[in-house]
Subunit: 332 residues, 5 copies
């Protein structure tokens, strides 16, 4: 846990929650960041100190909340979801309480996306130090939203590489990959859509705790969310098109295989029949009508020639119908 104030900066790892009381009221901005929700008693005590509603505290602990903005009398409760790439498009809940002179944030686990803000406060760079708790809230949300972009970028690269592979060589493993991708997208969308709504609420609704000047910044957050959702919808369209591309490619392959099977079969079956006919055991002696070819001088070459002729005609026929290799444009 870290506590900070503008003008002077005090940073502390708080061990006793009661210490917080002494800071409250003394400093224009106090930020308490709880990383990890393991210690329930800490959360309860903080809830008492900041006079937070029981239902809001329950939402902090139950980490399956949708991003939302809830106004209470003395504070504003904001739920944001951060995306985690390394764990396969999961998302993590971050709860932020914005009060008159405090910001209280809860992370599911200790992560690093708030580190740059702490550095900025320490070094007194930018507006964060001089502005109120509303700007700090913006900075926290902005840090989380900025974490979406690299994840989406890598997702986009994955989609594109998958696309090329499917068209080049469709195989069964892509079904699972596409399906996994859709799952990932659903997870991301479930985090992003309500976050956009929450951002819209923050910058549009008249929340007394948020300064008008801050709204420009929050509008920027909202703009980022709109861009993120734009990308997500784009990926969604592409991904849903991928399954169709896959099905079409498979259909096309089956069609190609069928062509090979059919043409080979159709060319060889008549030859086999001819061979079969000349393999019949009719008694050539019984009558001159019985298989006179067998005793011809050139009977065998004649039979082979007949086969070659039939094969040639059939092959030509398939060439004209465009089933056999010749029209190269067709195979693109």
């Amino acid at each position: 846990m870290v506590a900070y104030d503008p003008q002077r900066v005090v940073e502390k790892d708080i061990e006793d929650v009661q210490m917080v009381r002494s800071f409250l009221g003394q400093w224009p901005v106090t930020w308490i960041n709880v990383s990890g929700l393991g210690d329930l008693s800490v959360i309860t005590k903080l809830g008492e100190i900041f006079n937070i509603h029981r239902l809001a505290l329950e939402d902090v602990i139950n980490v399956h909340q949708r991003p939302k903005v809830e106004q209470y009398k003395d504070y504003c409760y904001i739920v944001v979801r951060a995306v985690l790439e390394k764990e396969g498009y999961a998302s993590e809940q971050v709860s932020i309480f914005l009060g008159k002179n405090f910001v209280l944030s809860f992370q599911e686990q200790a992560r690093t996306y708030f580190d740059p803000i702490i550095v900025r406060i320490r070094e007194g760079k930018g507006r964060t130090r001089t502005a109120g708790p509303d700007h700090l809230t913006y900075a926290l949300i902005d840090a989380i939203i900025d974490g979406y972009f690299p994840v989406l970028e890598r997702f986009g690269e994955l989609v594109e590489s998958l696309e090329d592979s499917i068209i080049a060589q469709p195989g069964a493993q892509f079904i699972e990959q596409i399906h996994d991708m859709r799952h990932g997208l659903l997870t991301l969308r479930r985090a992003a859509w309500p976050l956009r709504e929450a951002m819209a609420t923050l910058y549009r609704d008249p929340i007394p705790l948020i300064d008008n000047e801050e709204r420009v910044y929050l509008r920027d957050c909202y703009d980022h969310m709109v861009q993120i959702i734009d990308l997500l919808e784009n990926y969604r369209d592409v991904t849903s098109g991928l399954m169709e591309v896959y099905l079409s490619s498979i259909s096309n392959r089956t069609n190609e295989i069928m062509k090979v099977l059919t043409s080979i079969t159709v060319v060889l079956l008549p030859l086999t029949l001819i061979a079969g006919i000349y393999g019949m055991n009719f008694d050539t002696g019984a009558s001159p009508w019985n298989m006179p070819e067998l005793t011809w001088r050139a009977g065998y070459p004649f039979a082979l020639g007949l086969m070659a002729l039939v094969a040639l005609i059939l092959i030509l026929y398939f060439r004209i119908k465009g089933w056999w290799g010749s029209p190269p444009k067709m195979k693109g």
Copy 2:
């Protein structure tokens, strides 16, 4: 049937409906829970006592209502649907009448989801005992909504296990399972969507019977409903994707089978033709052109060798085209 009041608690199994009159007005909150709609006369009498509109009473009995909130002069009529897992995603109607000093609830059958509330009232824990009938209404609705989550969780597990099985081994039985799943989802969605709307009405609209403080609690109910619907929509997307996954898997399998058929046929047909040719009965004596191979010393090994050669060439050809096992990446 059970009746209760705060401060003191009186619990009774009411036999004569007229007994209710004596409680009404005497206690700040009277809760009458009718489990089972078998006895029509009881419902009619209660309707008379609480002065309930004929159409509302009809809706109580006709258990196919959508969740809704209807305001009447002296009371508010709320229809909620509880999900029943054990009977295959059915849903059950619960009608709640919220009056100034009474709550009247009708269950389709005697179920246990109201039991914890009765216990809480008995033991005087939480706000339920001290707050008005609006909080009791909230508690009833909350108990019903909480019943959705375990059902959805198990549904989610089912979806996931089905997903894995389909990709591993697509079979005809999945068509029916996916179809059943969709049916289940439709049932759940038909219960959940209007319930969300009803919750929105309850917490947003100015209903005089509901205290402003209670609205925070009802907003929590609404939040839960939004989460439930989020999950349902998620499952819907996944389920509708499953059918596509199934179709693609089947197409892919057919394609694989076609490859086997085609390659075997294409390899063996020429060999059969060669065998057929050497089985022709041309008179080798009639002319030296007639099948001289038959009298060659190594004619037979030559023929077998020819076959082996043709087979080898064709197998190599298929290997290169990637139809036959060799390129292992392709089969994932």
Copy 3:
């Protein structure tokens, strides 16, 4: 045609349209029901008597109107569509004019769904007799809307039976049945959706001719419409899923057939090849290398054994790959 008034009831089959004038103004409620739109002069005369706008009269005659509510100065024009099951999900237009002291209704053909209302009026049961023309209008609409439920119920049964048959045994005739079903649904939806909107207009909009007390009843009508549309949308989802189920089943069947073809072909082709080889006419005397098997003592059993062995190996191979009957779970 029938005319009625509360307190006293007068029922007449009107022959001369001018008779209507004598009733108008004398009685608090006069209801004229025209069954069948054959006689255009009657409609024109009624239009004159009740001072109805030319465009509204045109709509009465042109029976392809969507359900709607149109307010004119002295009356309100309501178009409702009744579903007709026996003629294959057609719908029939019923036009109702609600005036200060009259209700004028036009049916496409003489049907019986208004009969219970006439009986109720005759016997003076319920509110209909004592309430104004707005309640009569409600009663008429309610009677029509109630006619949707049995139709939908039977539709639902049809869908379910079709579902079971398709999964059990997919065949070409289902394509047509599903397509017909969709047609039916489209017809029903085209009647139901605007009817819901019309009901919403009736109960929400401030129409001076409708009493506030009646609004509760009209809200009930609206509720019924919402339920009907809920059911229709449900059927739509199921029906559109059916085509997919059908396609999947067919794909699956083709796949099964392919398996049979492929496995039989692949097992028998090598055997045929072996038979073909031993049918070659190489001169066994020319060289000891030429088909020595033919002169072996056990050559024939050896050949048969070889065939059996090859067949066995291939069958085993297919069993392991799961194409041939053995893994019973796979066929569900």
Copy 4:
């Protein structure tokens, strides 16, 4: 070009655009109809006379506008699209300027749909002659909208005939027909949807140039548009279902063909194998084990009988599995 006024009627083919000025102001209603947009100078001059905005004039000439209603200070600019059946579901732009005492209409080409209006004005029938320019505008729009119905009717007939043909005998030509149909629908919808919106604007928005009494007529136009769009959406659903029906039918056919191929192959292959076996040249003299059947007295009938038996068993097997003709319900 034609000019008309009520009370008296003056009809002229205007050669000099300046003549228009003399009519303006003199007559309560002046209607100038320009058929064909070939002569740009005429349009520019009319634009000057009636003081029309440059952008509106550009829209008149650029005939790819969507139907819309634009209000300017002194006039109202309405774009309507008429459907043209004979040229394959194209649509034509008609621009109407409604001023205080004039109506100015531009047709892409000289067509006949305004002729009945001219006749009505000449003969003084109906309201058109006595009402203001707003009623004339309504009459023009109504004439154009009425032109949609016969086109849609014939479209509906086409859809239905196509439907029957596809189910009876699916063939490649239907793909193109369905695709053309969709194109046609897209064209019609692109004309109809914004026209509906334009109609809604005309009858709902407070446009000072339109009398309240006229709104009833415009609402009728709007109603017609709603009906047209209803029909179009209906056709769209049916048409998009058609492609699915087509695909299902083709799948089904392929399945049927596969059944024939598979059953014939599976029945004949074993027979061919048996024939092949008895065609092997084993030396029956070398050992009694070598093909003793060949020297049996009834060897040949035995072989034929064996074949017949095998064929019979297989045919029976397929009959039981329902692949071969017998269960007639299956083929519908």
Copy 5:
């Protein structure tokens, strides 16, 4: 960089950003166009001179913004996206700042679409010279939007040519082409949709910097955007239909190939069986029952005749079933 003012025109390639200050305030309209975002210091300095918010400047540099309109105290920030055809349906960001007496525009790269405006200003034609900075802004936006039409036109031609090719000869290369097309459409739509919204904001919302007279012009821009989106949605429908057309064509082709395979196989297999039967080596001498045909005088012609008969019957059968060429209507 170019600077201009009405009445007199001054055009300069600015080297020192500070020069801008001297123009500001002196001239009613100053337009600075920055082509290329390479030089960050210039942008920062311009930002200082015109007092532009840090976040807006960041959006200028980060060229993945969606089109939008943002109002600040002294200026209005408009982001527009221009489409670039030659680089495969990419889009380029153009940022426009509209102030009281200045217009500041940033292009990603130096392009020519603003050239006609500069010419118009130079020559003093049209309204641009005399009107304020709002008209210049309109002119810039209009120039960008007009750039969409030729791109869309060529896209439409591509779609149509693709359509014809697919129906004529479906091949694997189309899958990629259709997929590329969809990508292009997605890119275009992502640029066009928010641009439409931005245009709606510009012409509808009360922005003090925009004159009421200019709104007519901006409405025209909005109209163009609506038309563009109409076209895009149209192409989207057609493109998504194309994949279905492709799949249907492939299915149809597979079906046709299956017919050829099946009919050839089914015709030739029985003949091969007959040939095989007469190739059996039964000892004709052992019994008169053993293959008496072999010793018949006309045994061979009989066998050939039998084959011809069987083939004929089967061919006739397929003709009747419509699989073989004869019913020409079927192949369209």
